[in-house]
């Protein structure tokens, strides 16, 4: 893995593709720490913060959003070519986002249904993860990613070590935090057993079921969870929707979701 060697301050960029802007907020919501971060890395391109120079070469490029237009297919190539270390941040960049649901439907028909003049709209029929187009050095999963994840990644890169990647399941985080299991105690259709941690087990700590916004964990046993959800009374179509949600484009979830939906046919 390549590392960033700081000559002066390492240079960083934040690029936006199809997204809600929420992952960039992990930076913009840092408060005074944003000023501290700016003293550690130089943001040469971060449009929302006012720095515009998308073509400048950088040490670290953060990419938010999915690739969903012909122009963006070209733009992500340019971003890659100008970046030493490319970090995909959030569900859109790592799995195509909620909008990847169009990949499973007739994307062109969707566009025609929404726009009176679809020919005005530059939009591919698919919405895909950054890694399907260029080499990605690090993926930070989550919808949205949080400031802790981003700062940890920047710190690791500044120290020249490989950033830590979360792979555990949300269940483990619940156990560590001594959160009562919402599936066992309340019979809720929790996605925690197959979902990557990193969020802090927020939903179970609020007494609700996890809805998998951090994507699939390592070796997710989607088949067994599906059977458990069935045992809780969910119909196959409803189980399918649990997988085909925010991270529907992540292969283990796409596969598990489609299998349940087709069971229904």
């Amino acid at each position: 893995m390549s590392t960033v060697v700081a000559k002066d301050r390492p240079r960083a960029a934040v690029h936006k593709f199809a997204s809600c802007d929420g992952c960039q907020l992990a930076l913009l919501n840092l408060g005074e720490d944003l000023l501290l971060l700016s003293s550690l890395v130089e943001f040469v391109h971060f449009a929302e913060a006012g720095q515009v120079n998308p073509e400048a070469p950088v040490d670290i490029a953060f990419v938010e959003g999915s690739i969903s237009t012909a122009k963006d297919v070209e733009r992500i190539q340019r971003v890659r070519a100008r970046s030493r270390f490319l970090v995909a941040i959030g569900a859109c960049a790592t799995a195509g986002g909620l909008q990847a649901l169009r990949n499973l439907a007739d994307g062109q028909a969707w566009i025609a249904d929404v726009y009176a003049s679809p020919d005005y709209v530059d939009s591919l029929q698919s919405s895909t993860a950054v890694a399907q187009h260029v080499k990605v050095d690090l993926e930070l999963w989550g919808c949205p990613v949080n400031s802790r994840q981003l700062i940890a990644a920047v710190r690791a890169l500044l120290f020249g070590v490989a950033p830590f990647e979360e792979h555990d399941k949300v269940c483990l985080e619940c156990k560590r935090a001594q959160v009562v299991c919402v599936m066992v105690a309340h019979g809720l259709p929790c996605m925690g057993p197959v979902t990557r941690t990193g969020c802090g087990a927020l939903c179970p700590s609020f007494g609700r079921d996890c809805y998998a916004c951090y994507g699939p964990a390592e070796n997710p046993n989607t088949e067994v969870l599906g059977r458990r959800l069935e045992g809780l009374g969910l119909a196959p179509a409803a189980i399918g929707r649990c997988f085909l949600s925010i991270n529907n484009g992540a292969p283990p979830f796409t596969e598990a979701g489609l299998r349940r939906v087709h069971e229904h046919d």
């Binding site: 992990a26 709209v121 530059d122 919405s127 929707r241």
Partner: protein, 432 residues
Amino acid sequence: MTEQRNIDIRVPVLARVEGEGALEIRTQGQDVTAVRLRIFEPPRLFEKILEGRDHGEVPDLVARICGICPVAYQMSAVHAFERLFGVDPGSWVRDMRRVLYCGEWMQSHALHIHLLAAPDLLGYDNAIAMARDHPDIVRRGLLLQALGNDIIRLFGARSVHPVGVRVGGFHHVPARSDVTEIYTRLSAAIPDTEALVRWAAALDLPAAEQRFVSVSLRHTAEYPMNAGRLASSAGLDAGIDEFESHFSEQQVAHSTALYCLLNGQPYLVGPLARVNLNLERLPAAVRAALDESGIVWPSRNPFHAIVARAAEIYYAVLEAARILKDYRIPEAAHAAVVPRAGVAIAGTEAPRGMLWHRYDVQEDGRVVRARIVPPTSQNQARIEADLRQSLEALGLDRSDDELRRRCEMVIRSYDPCISCATHFLDLRVERC
């Protein structure tokens, strides 16, 4: 270049517009012949994503439309379903939703004022550069933004795409100790926010009287957030269910956002429209701060939006503190929800203006069809009208750079959800 055509749409659209935009201006002699705010944010087709989804999933899905105002999307959605299903979540839920919305207004407005708009007005490229010369101003703004975010976190565990809202109420009841901590910080912030209004009013804002129609919700007793009727400065007074009889959306070639018009004309939504239409619903302290500003309210100067935004932060801090002062733990965080078929409609006041949702729901509570009209698509036609008037008022003999800077300021003053894009406007002036 594609010729602009206006076409009535068949199916509603939600084109999210936080992203890339560009500006095109064409002039002929002293006439502005074309002004186009080009928005080419890739569409994410949310209306289609929502089809077939259970009403219970919708609050978490629509939050993903906007990372800056996810609470607004959640609020419009839950109110729509509760109206259709005949659910009354009770006064605790009603009050806490108001506090939650105060949090979102605070963080969104503080972000806009300090990180997006102020650098323009004080002559900097960005807030980080501005912070070197104006550390106290930036620090005050970031603290208010953080307080807003922490209020959202109190009810939603995180500030972006919070997880606490559900149809019928909340998933979680905040602990008294956490509420007390927020209440203490709110009380301490009151003088800061009052000072913020004074600071905003003292900014050197261009004088630019324009004719425009303001639109917002109006409530019988409150400054509008989660409920009210549709009102305009031209006399509109209609129920929220009548939105589609007065407002229509059109697609144009140069934007993936639709243009929403009121009786075929541009109009303004957002803080300035809300203040203009709801002055007598503001508490005396906020009203006094506005009167001391030296601005005559209602204001016809679109640049006064930043003062309105500051006044709404002041209001949000006072309102949240008022509600949380006597916080009580409820018996339940949410009411029972039994779905039924029909049309679910609601409008609430997002930080950037009225956000209207409509869901056609089938018997089992799943969505058949969705329509969402966000504030930015409502302001888009008004922004272009403003650009045209501003350019004519400024005079076309100015340099390209000066014209570009003024246009950027105009666009940014609306806090469109393409705020990031408006920081890299690619201005093309074609002079004939």
